[in-house]
Every structure is written in C-alpha cells, then in structure tokens.
Symmetry: C2
Subunit: 240 residues, 2 copies
C-alpha cells in the first residue's frame, strides 16, 4: 500500500509538472498575442513610441522560450515520459520556437512602423494590412485555444485557414506593387508596408505550425506537409 | 557476466541508433546544401528549368524531416536518453526544423528566379545576390561541419558571422531601393530580387540556429539570444 501511495505521489507530481509546462507555454502565447496587438496598433497608427515598447518586450519572450525549453529538457531527463506525455513535451518544445519567432516578426514589423512614422502620411494600404493583421491574430488565438483545450477540430481549421491568408497576402501585395508603380514617391513607404505584410504572413505560418503540433499531440499523426484536401478529409472524419 | 554482455549489447545498439539519427540529419543537410547551390544557379542565371527542379526536390526534404523527427521521438520513448545523449536528440530535432525551413526558403527563392526569367534582363544586382548567396551557403556548410565534428569553435564563428550577413543584406537592400527609385521600369525585377535577398538572409538565420544547437549540445549552454560580445568572450575562452 505504501508503495502504491508513493507511486501515486510521484505520478501526481509528474502530472503537475506537465500541467505547469503547458501553462507556461500558454502564458508565453498570451504575451505574444498581446505583443501582436500592440504591433498592429503601432503599424496602423504609425506610432513609434508603441513600436519601441514592442521591441523592448521581445526580451521577455526570449527569456520565456529558454525557460520553457529547459523545463522540457528537465522533464525528458528526469521523468522519461512515454506516449501522449512525450508528445505533449515535444509539442510544447516545438511550439515555443514558433511563439518566439512570432515575437521576432512582431519586432521586425514594429521596426517598419517606426520607419513609416518618419515618412509623410501616404495613401498607403492600411485597410489590407489591418485585415491580414486581424486574420493572423485570430489564427494565433485559435491555435493557442486549440492547444489549451486539445481541440483538434479547431487546430485543423487553423491549418486549413492558412491558405486564405496566403490568398489575401498575394492580393494585398499586388495592390502595393500597383501603388508603387503609379508614383515613385510612394516607393519608400510602400516598401515598409510590404515588409510588414510579409511579417504578418509569416505570423500566420507560425500559428499554423502550432496548430499542427496540437493535431500531432492529440492524434499522434504528423500532418506537416499534408495537402489541404487531405486535411479537409481529416476534418470531416473528425465530425463523424 | 551474461547480464553485463546484455547491457553492453543494448548500449551498443543505442549508440548505433544515435549515430544513425545524427547521420540522417547530416544527409538531410547535404541535400539542403545541394538544393541551395541549385537555387543560387537558378537565381543568377534566371534559369526557370533549374528553379522548377529545386521546387520539386522540396518534397524529399520534407519527407526527411518527418522521418528524422520520428526517429527522435522513438529514441526518446524507448531509450530514455540522459545528459549528452538527450541533448543530441533535442539538438537533432531542432536542427531538422531549421533545415526544412532552409528548404522552404530555397523553394521561395526558386519561385523568384522563375518570375525573373520571365522579365527582360535588367541591370539588376546579381553581384550582391551572388556574394550573400555564397556567404550564407558557407555558413550552412560550416554549421553542418561543426555538427558532424562537434566543433564548438566553428559553431561560435557561424553565430558571430551572422552579424556580417545582416550588414551585407542592409547594404544590398539599399542599393536595390536606389535602382527602383532611379527607374520605375525596374520595379518588378528589383522586387523579385529583394524577395530572393530576404530569403538568403533567412537561410543565414537558420544556419545560425543550427550552430547554436551545436554549442548547446557540446557545452550544455543555451546561447540563443546572447549578444555578439558575449559570444566573442566564449570564443576566446575556448581558445585558451
């Protein structure tokens, strides 16, 4: 009996460690979401002060990445998790990298916001930037929600949704190229908007990577590099 | 005695598995290096046939990523590695992601090469593209060499070197912007060169990530987000 109690105690501790690790990932995700919100504000209002705040907060995100990675390594070394516990640790380890990269993109977009704030206000293309910014922020939120609730259906939707961000991106990019060709005085400003747009598109890619980790975690199936049609099939299977 | 022999047998098998996993990473690296070489050729000669071959070969790289990741998970689940063995598995798992992303960048650069092949040959800026292409390909080779030989000194050099790629990138980007402003007819061509340049700069970032994993693996020290000066200190420590 005492042996059993000891085992239960150990396994209770182990579960608490796994929960804490997942919780830290979600906290890091929350911070990155907040950073993305501030970045979009800075970009759309060409607010250099806000942009500088975003750049400064990137340190905190980097520190969280290192801390969570260390937690994952410690759990792997000391607890030797198997099956779904192992998948959880690996999914967390991969997802921190993507969250950190979203933080990097936010920093780069904030730098473009600072450059834009130094230029005379141009016609620009803020409608399309706003739209894509909202879209990828929603994808990030959904990816993190799907991780929190292990909601594979929502995760699949995020992955499928990435295709429509790419379409929006192409269309926004075309209209920026047109603006540039219409008037050479637009070139500098439009270039900064293009880099910001590119950064937003990459945020969508990283949100997708996180959602793919959720599918791997829940289903034990690696869906990276699957075609959208195959994912759609997975979605209808899941509904049935 | 029989028990000892059994243990030795198991540990021999385990070492063989670790060696095979590392070997597969290096093979994937070799393929990605080759793909980068073809991409640069396609870009500099605006050779759409070669570019299409690069895009087609990306599937093979994606498949290797999935296979190596599976190998890592299997080793973690069945062998429960500790200390430096665990660091090796984790470094391999992180590095495959970076190699796969380099493959993605090569594909994106190849797409720009196809677009460029459809345009009338412009003045362009191929000297600077060639130079950065060589530089980041060298960084990738050095990062993989440092992984093969666990050469931490070379790995630190790669990380430090990334700063000079960024400087070259900024200067190349400025001269492309000038070309664009000089003559609006250059806009389309120069934009494709800009995207290619951006892709090359990211290849340098991913090579740096791989080198950082080598430092983590050998020294057990996470150097991500360290300042260049701190890394220089590490380099002089290593020399002493």
């Amino acid at each position: 009996m005492q042996g059993d109690q000891h085992k239960q105690h150990i396994s209770g501790q182990f579960n608490a460690e796994l929960d804490a690790m997942k919780q830290h990932l979600l906290e890091m995700g929350g911070l990155v979401e907040q950073q993305m919100g501030l970045t979009m504000d800075a970009l759309l209002h060409r607010d250099s002060g806000q942009a500088a705040a975003v750049i400064a907060s990137d340190k905190e995100i980097n520190a969280m990445e290192l801390q969570i990675d260390e937690e994952c390594s410690r759990i792997l070394a000391l607890r030797q998790p198997a099956a779904s516990d192992l998948r959880l640790v690996l999914a967390v380890a991969k997802s921190t990298t993507d969250l950190e990269r979203i933080g990097d993109e936010a920093t780069k977009i904030a730098r473009q916001a600072i450059k834009l704030s130094e230029l005379p206000p141009s016609t620009g293309n803020s409608t399309e930037l706003r739209q894509i910014g909202r879209h990828v922020s929603q994808m990030l939120r959904d990816a993190l929600d799907s991780f929190a609730r292990l909601d594979v259906r929502k995760a699949i939707e995020v992955v499928v949704d990435d295709g429509s961000v790419d379409t929006e991106y192409d269309s926004a990019m075309r209209s920026l190229v047109t603006l540039m060709m219409e008037d050479a005085r637009n070139i500098s400003g439009v270039l900064h908007e293009m880099w910001a747009l590119r950064g937003l598109e990459r945020v969508g890619d990283h949100a997708t990577n996180i959602a793919e980790q959720v599918i791997y975690l829940v289903r034990g199936m690696d869906v990276r590099h699957m075609k959208p049609a195959e994912l759609q099939d997975l979605l209808s299977e899941d509904a049935s």
